[in-house]
Amino acid sequence: MEEDVRPEVQVMERYGYERSYLISILHEVQKEYQYLPEQALRNVAAGMGISLVDIYGVATFFKAFSLKPKGKHSIVLCMGTACHVRNSRGLLEEARRFLGIEPGDTTDDLLFSLDTVNCLGACALGPIAVIDGEYHGQMTPAKMERLLKKLAKEEGVRK
């Protein structure tokens, strides 16, 4: 018998197909694909014996999951209270203007995704931007613009 090497199957096996780990399973599947492709969700539904509707419900209820592909660079901005009082909205406006997309979206060239989160637990250093996994504290709109320009330049795109 041929071994099934699809990532979602391996993930489900690691978690023993236990439903109480569904969210963790979806997180790991998302890590593999950068998003949750429809086929992967179908496979998880079949593997776990849960209806696709239920899986879809969970995958759309929780903000951490995306059913759309994500860009190469991820721009995540904290919109928590501590960051808000230190002008995180200014960062968001800047990123939105620069990239021309709304939070949750990805640029058409699949280079940048813009997302917001409620709090990263690094509130003392707010406002926080996480760019490709790296934390930047005490951000300002001008710093945001500089960082984005640098990334765009590296990718050879004019913004």
Binding site: V58, K63, A82, R86, V117, N118, C119, A122, G137
Partner: protein
């Protein structure tokens, strides 16, 4: 690490052997590895320090410890040298060499790296003397600076798991609950419900198949709060030990920790800690030979605020959509998988081993009549010393903000402090002498909440803050009940009108009325408390609402539709800086001549205001 320990005696011997190995080290360098310091490059600081020690062949005499959060995040990366307790702040990797030279090999102190009090200009040498720490009472957090969270031996060396031994071998479940009752422990997750009462109800509940659960709420949804993160990350065994004791008292067989996914380091440290506890026989079957068995699983969240609510949290662990249900039947009887379940917050659990180890009476001496013990707050926003502070209950807000927090940053005037997260309220200057206590904070229109304490100054707009929270809760409402789903949306419309200068006086009345309806008729705590930020800002800062509505003015300069940027020609030197940085080309002018702003192009991003070094850009 050792194999399984099968009795308290084994554990004691193990502890002694760890302690004697540790005595070999003459000095210990504790490098803060909390999330705040991680964002400021502490990993490299640690690597450089270790490398320097290796080069000097000091690794057997000096131990480097990568610990959890020390709390003073504003000043990170933090390095503390024990036993002297010297604190160095804002350490960079290139400081490693001189730190080892002066303070490890030698016994001198590097003045430049010490914490300096801005107000008095005074340097502080020792961690314990720095005002930020000296006014705190670090019952739970102290250990964060002493242990490597990925090494159970550190926790055991600090008398870790001795409370568990006491509970399992010297106390009956009823005695444990009694002890927690005498200590007066109340839930740290927000509502302050007496922990012992909850435990009693769950202990009493009949389980059809002998399975009961206990859960740990590490969803920490309050945006702007990170106490639970730091506890789980920095001292996971304290939470685990508390849960095992609680499980024994309640008669639970299985536990879950529900952690938000935004906290990957907390999940990692927790999983490692659970594995190590299992290997040592402190978790799993027949714990320390007591005959009691219990294990803990970790469940990761998916980024939904409402999942901090007990029934939504349980649905989420079951792998379902995280919607709350009406609690006709208490979760103590029918909770997770319809079995008796007890849920407590991270900080609540972490208090349990202390109460058992130190005794309820000693614990109850801290705090006020109805609020005992300490509370951890995340002191953030516009205050000078941001970070995590643990204080005895009963301390005033003023002491926290001005003595520990060092007052306001940037010399601005204090306006309000927000506690209780999206369920809480804003407290004005005139109420700053309110003691921190569950009842008193509720009386002033806010609440203790889980511990977010966001300080606001004159540049914070209170209407904008109200709108911020309503916006947040609108997004986070699960949509199951109408008052919360629709009511909040309508409240948001009104607030949008107010901040953009379109509102009329009547709308303020409507806003209040709506707020009351949402409060009184929503299904779960989210909706029931959602109007608090609006009602409290109207109560204390109604003037600001009127200014927005009648004068179309935002005194804090926050609401974009009501402000304008201008250049003061007298101050402008014509340096071209703002012109070069304006992303929309709205700044006009030539070198060395005063610039001006084309208001028809200006998008009010404020970059010119930020980059001008001469204070020539005005916000009106």
């Amino acid at each position: 690490m050792k194999g399984s320990l099968s009795s308290p005696k084994d554990l004691n011997e193990y502890r002694k052997s760890i302690q004697s190995t540790k005595k070999k080290f003459e000095k210990v360098i504790s490098v803060c590895g909390g999330t705040g310091c991680h964002a400021q490059n502490c990993v490299q600081v640690r690597e450089e320090i270790s490398r320097e020690l290796d080069e000097r062949l000091l690794s057997d005499k000096v131990m480097v410890k990568f610990t959890g959060c020390h709390g003073f995040c504003e000043m990170g990366p933090l390095v503390v040298i024990h036993p002297a307790g010297i604190l160095y702040v804002k350490v960079s990797p290139s400081d490693a060499q001189r730190i080892i030279e002066s303070s490890v090999v030698g016994d001198s102190v590097i003045d430049e790296l010490l914490y300096k009090d801005v107000a008095t200009g005074k340097n502080f040498e020792k961690e314990q003397d720095v005002p930020f720490y000296s006014k705190q009472k670090r019952l739970l957090l102290a250990m964060n600076g002493m242990i490597d969270p990925q090494n159970i031996e550190d926790y055991i060396a600090q008398e870790g798991y001795s409370a568990l031994v006491k509970a399992l071998f010297e106390m009956s479940p009823e005695e444990i609950i009694k002890e927690v009752e005498i200590a007066g422990l109340r839930g740290r997750g927000g509502a302050g419900f007496p922990t012992a009462n909850k435990w009693k109800a769950c202990r009493r509940a009949r389980a059809r198949d002998n399975i009961k659960y206990i859960l740990c709420n590490a969803d920490e949804g309050d945006p702007g709060a990170y106490m639970d993160r730091s506890l789980l990350e920095g001292n996971p065994h304290a939470v685990i030990e508390g849960m095992i004791i609680g499980a024994y008292a309640i008669g639970a067989t299985e536990g879950f920790v529900y952690v938000r996914h935004e906290y990957p380091l907390a999940v990692e440290n927790l999983l490692k800690a659970l594995e190590q506890a299992r290997q040592l026989g402190l978790l799993g079957d027949n714990i320390l030979g007591s005959g009691f068995s219990f294990d803990i699983k970790v469940s990761v969240g998916g980024g939904a605020f409402v999942c901090g609510e007990s029934t939504a949290l349980m649905a989420s662990i079951e792998g379902r959509i995280g919607e709350p249900r009406v609690k006709h039947i208490h979760t103590a009887e029918k909770g997770l998988y319809n079995r008796p379940t007890n849920l407590n917050n991270v900080e609540t659990w972490a208090n349990v081993p202390i109460i058992i180890r130190e005794g309820a009476e000693a614990y109850a001496r801290i705090g006020t009549e109805k609020s005992r013990g300490t509370k951890i707050f995340s002191l953030v926003g516009k205050v000078r010393n941001t970070g995590l502070v643990e204080v005895p209950m009963g301390i005033t807000l003023r002491e926290i903000i001005f003595d520990i927090g060092g007052g306001m940053a940037n010399g601005k005037a204090f306006k309000a402090v927000q506690t209780g997260g999206p369920s809480g309220g804003c407290i004005p200057e005139s109420m700053l002498d309110t003691p921190v206590d569950f009842e008193r904070l509720t009386e002033v229109g806010s609440m203790m909440g889980s511990g977010g304490m966001i300080v606001m100054d004159e540049s914070t707009c209170m209407v904008d803050i109200a709108r911020y929270f309503v916006d947040f809760l609108c997004e986070e409402s699960c949509g199951k009940c109408v008052p919360c789903r629709e009511g909040l949306k309508q409240m948001r419309f009104i607030l949008d009108d107010i901040v953009s200068g379109r509102a009329t006086g009547k709308q303020l009345e409507l806003l209040k009325e709506l707020a009351e309806v949402v409060r009184d008729t929503s299904l779960c705590g989210l909706g029931q408390t959602a109007p608090n930020p609006v009602l409290s800002t109207i109560k204390y800062f109604e003037d600001e609402y009127h200014e927005h509505i009648e004068e179309k003015r935002c005194r804090a300069g926050v609401c974009r539709d009501l402000i304008e940027y201008q250049i003061d020609a007298d101050k402008c030197t014509g340096c071209l800086r703002c012109k070069a940085q304006c992303p929309v080309g709205a700044v006009l002018g030539e070198k060395e001549k005063p610039h001006h702003i084309d208001l028809s192009k200006c998008e009010k991003c404020g970059i010119c205001y930020e980059v001008c070094e001469f204070g020539a850009v005005l916000r009106k």
